[in-house]
Assembly symmetry: C2
DNA sequence: AGAAACAATGTAAACGTTTACATTTTAAAC
DNA sequence: GTTTAAAATGTAAACGTTTACATTGTTTCT
């Protein structure tokens, strides 16, 4: 029942090498021979076994994707971008999410050490020395997505959190003339969060608001964090004119808190977020936020990774591309 | 540089068979020998090559997942359920989404025909004859998720759309005594949508509301579809007391329309949805809807698929499991 | 027509495992 | 201390390709 290259070769009256060449699109085969082999193959329903091919070629046509967690639309977009690009180029995608550091490491080792994939796209919140060591030792190329930590000597695609935060805060100042702008920050050890905070500070500074126009409370990127952060800011003696939530999820929490306290957005206080998650367009008023090109991050990572796989020289070079964000204007900042 | 089983065997002073046995956890190896091999392996950083292993064993420890599209949180949840379960059992997941029918077929053929995966989880909106033929011909088992069409003789996990719809409509009738209940339906060719409509009709019938308590307009599962469907229903001479949206996305559209028309939910009209998407909990009031156990669908599919892979006999048996939904009460139906 | 150059095909050795089967070692029984 | 059975290890043949290298077939040139 099983049909392999030998059966095809036999039936077609050629050697297995010729059959192999036909399926590798070699130009060393005469057209008539090619046709004959292809015809027999179709008859026998022959498809070259990719595992055997991988073993022989030492290539799998597969990229591994390691994600910190599969929950959240953020990751869905990433996978979407990756899958689409990989499919276009006829590659396969092996995914693996994880819920703990150890898990990321394990998966990475499994992917990198073995011949299961030809390259890896890694999205890790924090690149530590152990991860770097694995990357260094492996023959297989790796591309980082939105990675923080010691990412030197690696290929790294990230989002311009600083610029995005700067821009949206500047919008609050320039277009709306708000004087006191609060912020609910993200986790202190999160690089995205840190850059967003820096962008915020920079904008305030630029417009001379850093002295007494600044009000910052900690947050954790969660809905509850946003809820409490908002309440904390609002309970201050001197209330802020506007609040920059370090991400949209927290902005959702802020909307809930505002609703509860009967505070109107943007009439009583303006609110902006970051990420442009799907949900944000359904908030009332629509949340003004910063769009992050997530799927693009994924597809760019794939393109670069395939480049590294094809041209080993690239592997040695470090490479960083920072994708710019764009402002998404909703009603929550006070714009019509 | 490259370290293979031969190097390890040599260095450990044993044969490659013994090394292989150590890594296959065979109990034919004495503990001291095992220790020695393991020690050397660690020293040399040896990991058995999974490709070679796959070729020899004719098993890849990988399952393929074919999805109609990677967009939408629905699919993210599916992947999440699948990945988590697969990881638990030490399997890998090869994903592939697609945007057209042809694409699903292609991927399926590639997955099933080749030795790249040991089994496939397929989520296709519609199982047609071509797909069935592929399933029939393949040695590799396949599990369907939420599939419509001719799914006999297959393993199939689906959601109880009928019961879910029936239950939520019954809730509207029993708990709130609404007399006229409208519905915005899903796509006519979508099996989920059809079952939901049937559940709706059945509930109305049960309580004798089918005569003049029914009002149905077509929809398409999109936000816009819900928006227009809601407006259509509301513009009727005799207005419905409550509306059942065939899915949550359309309910979101209905909220927008209601806001626009200054119609209060649930004071002026009650509204319920289906799916319990993430977003629905952030609507005001929270949407009453039907929770669909999506991740569970994924993990159950994996468990069953691995069962089929291990026990070939299972493959022949058709199997259907219909996962029950549960009601999620929010404020939109009129409940406190 | 024969030599030379080139195109097309074939042969056989990788690729790195697993696993029947053969062989050796160890333990048990007498 | 043999003999015997059982346990541990080794040998070698798969698994299904790719691809140097060898061989054969076909032009082209003189």
């Amino acid at each position: 029942m099983k049909v392999d290259i030998k059966k095809v070769a036999e039936k077609a009256g050629v050697s297995i090498a010729t059959v192999s060449r036909v399926f590798s699109n070699s130009d060393l085969v005469r057209q008539p021979t090619k046709d004959k082999v292809l015809k027999i193959s179709k008859e026998l329903n022959y498809i070259p076994n990719p595992i055997a091919r991988s073993l022989s070629r030492q290539l799998t046509d597969t990229i591994g994707v390691v994600l910190p967690d599969l929950v959240g639309e953020f990751f869905m977009d990433i996978i979407h971008g990756i899958d689409e690009e990989a499919y276009k180029q006829n590659w396969f995608v092996l995914v693996s999410s994880s819920h703990s550091k150890r898990n990321i490491l394990e998966t990475l080792i499994e992917f990198m050490g073995s011949g299961r994939v030809d390259g890896v796209i890694l999205m890790a919140p924090q690149i530590d020395e152990r991860i770097n060591e694995i990357i260094r030792k492996s023959k297989r190329p790796i591309v980082l997505i939105n990675a923080g930590g010691d990412t030197n000597n690696n290929a790294n695609f990230k989002v311009d959190n600083f610029q995005g935060a700067y821009t949206i805060v500047e919008h609050l100042i320039q277009n709306h003339s708000y004087k006191i702008i609060g912020m609910v920050e993200g986790p202190k050890d999160n690089y995205d969060a840190i850059d967003r905070s820096n962008g915020y500070y920079k904008a305030l500074q630029k417009y001379g608001l850093n002295k007494n126009g600044s009000m910052v409370v900690p947050g954790d990127f969660s809905v509850e964090g946003g809820y409490h952060g908002f309440k904390k800011l609002i309970s201050n003696k001197v209330k802020p004119d506007a609040i920059f939530m370090a991400n949209d999820m927290m902005a959702v929490g802020a909307y809930q808190a505002a609703k509860e306290l009967k505070i109107r957005i943007p009439e009583d206080i303006a609110l902006v977020g970051f990420d442009d998650i799907y949900l944000s367009q359904f908030l009332h008023p629509r949340l003004t936020t910063v769009h992050v090109p997530i799927a693009e991050l994924g597809s760019k990572a794939v393109i670069h990774l395939l480049g590294m796989i094809k041209d080993k020289k690239l592997k040695k070079k470090s490479f960083v591309e920072i994708l710019s964000t764009c402002l998404v204007i909703g009603g929550s900042c006070g714009c019509a």
